[in-house]
């Protein structure tokens, strides 16, 4: 369960580059719910994810996660509760280290790391079994540097790493956007499989309407740092790609209207 209440974030305040990325966002996600976040570029959807992950502190508001007020927690402390997969397939793994070593670090996510061996026997056996289920032929290559794998393989492994210890919240930040269609499909299937099996509370940002329609039990649409639509339950199930496109079109029109009105008022009165 996660409770986001009234969070604000402005980047570069007081400069010409000022961006009000989040404006009073409230969001409560129930335990085990899979929420898809949609929005245009610059709508604040990735910023929302990063605010939850703790990449930066929010200016106002609070974030509660699994009965902890994490608003002031640094990123690495929140990692005890959060599993993450990034947009860039290179971000989630250490390229010069072996597959096994990468998983060893995932197996101690959020725990105090001591002087125990990173590659324990237990880890290696359970790792081999789990990676075999990917059917990517990686189980025999656990000692290979992860940097030698393709983007799709790395992203699939990152997903396994993020969920190796069951996280209170899984954050997926356009995690298939940088992949070719076939790998993207594989990774999406794997994601939904893992999320369903472990009943993970998930927040996923995507650009793909198909993914949004197909996955999850709730869609929120963001625009200019605010949540403008929230579809859930039966409404979410009924939703088709066309409906989503209509909603985007509506947002776009409303925005144009606003700008035109602003320009008109400007011409008339100033």
């Amino acid at each position: 369960m996660i409770e986001i209440s009234g969070i604000h974030k402005t980047f570069n305040p007081g400069t010409v580059n000022e961006v009000r990325a989040l404006r009073d966002v409230d969001l409560i996600i129930d335990e085990g719910s899979f929420v898809v976040v949609l929005g245009t570029n610059g709508s604040g959807k990735s910023t929302l994810l990063n605010a939850v992950a703790g990449t930066f502190r929010v200016d106002k508001g609070s974030i509660r996660l699994a009965d902890h007020d994490v608003t002031k927690w640094p990123e690495h402390k929140r990692a005890a509760l959060i599993g993450r997969v990034f947009q860039n397939p290179f971000s989630g793994t250490a390229p010069d280290m072996s597959i096994a070593e990468n998983f060893a670090m995932a197996a101690s996510r959020g725990k105090a790391r001591g002087l125990g061996w990173a590659l324990s026997k237990d880890l290696m056996t359970s790792l081999e079994e789990r990676i075999a289920t990917l059917r990517m032929g990686l189980e025999g290559r656990l000692d290979n540097a992860i940097g030698s794998l393709s983007g799709g393989q790395r992203q699939a492994l990152t997903l396994l790493m993020a969920t190796w210890l069951k996280p209170s919240l899984l954050l997926l930040d356009e995690h298939t956007a940088a992949l070719d269609p076939k790998s993207a499909d594989q990774v999406i299937n794997l994601s939904s499989e893992v999320i369903q099996r472990d009943q993970l509370t998930t927040l996923m940002v995507t650009h793909s309407m198909q993914q949004a329609v197909r996955l999850g039990d709730r869609i929120i649409m963001m625009h200019k740092g605010q949540i403008v639509h929230d579809f859930r339950g039966a409404e979410k199930k009924r939703l088709r790609t066309e409906d989503l496109l209509d909603h985007f079109e509506e947002i776009r029109r409303r925005e144009q209207l606003d700008e035109n009105t602003a320009a008109m008022l400007n011409d008339l009165y100033i």
């Binding site: 990692a79 990034f86 971000s91 793994t93 280290m97 670090m105 790391r113 125990g116 990173a118």
Partner: protein
Amino acid sequence: MTLLLGALTIGLILSLLAMGVYVSFRIFDVPDITTDGSITLGAAIAATLLVNDVHPLLATGAGALGGMVAGTVTGVLHTRFRINALLAGILVMTALYSVNLHVMGRSNVPLMQAETLATYGETAGHFVVGSKDFNFLGWRIGSADAAVLFSAGFAVAVVGIFLFLFFRTNIGTAMRATGNNSQMIRALGANVERNIILGLALSNGLVALSGALLAQYQGFADAQMGIGMIVWGLASVIIGEALVGSSSLGLTIVGTVMGSVLFRLLVAIALRWGLNPNDLKLITALFVFAALVLPRFVRRKKSKLIQ
């Protein structure tokens, strides 16, 4: 022969420095100039304590500890105060120059009369061999020189194995990942800032240990002895990688030691052939420059040839 043994011994002692540079430069990707100050700091602390009749092991340990403190300061400047790593190293190195002079009380501390690890080694050598020198494959070898060389090799082996094992523990693996992909390891709950501080402390601890041993071997500590030592370390690391590659952690550590010894041998030979000692640093710098640039240059030539 004595010359060769001497070069080997110094090469081994400086391989501790090279391992320290390997930790900062290769694992954390930070060219840490604190090295130049912390090797002198290690030597200064050890020498001062030795002159005051402190047990050599204790004095050596204290020297290493001093280096760890210096590395910690650099790490804190870099992570907590967001100072560029290079600049943080320069600041600490500069500050250490004064610190070292204060520790020693003058610019040079000779260890003529003091009991050191080197004199221990010599005594042990006499005791084991039973005479001043012995015959080894037709060469007359001073038993003292041989014993010191052997002890240095033993110390390096212990430190190398420790390093290898340490970087395979949970904390060590997380430290390696910190240099490899800090975003990833932060998302997995590691405190990246703390890991960098720890890494620089470890690196400079090794460097200072090297300085403490070097002072005892050469019989003095000097305020100037650290100048350009980071470049020396870099050269050793690069030679090591050229010799054995960088595919695995163990190999790289062994390679670094080999690189340091080989480089010292080359220098000894060059000096013997009449190289002006004043040109040594210049040539070391040129060598590292070439080693850094050549691979890229060769690759470009190759790809042009293929086209």
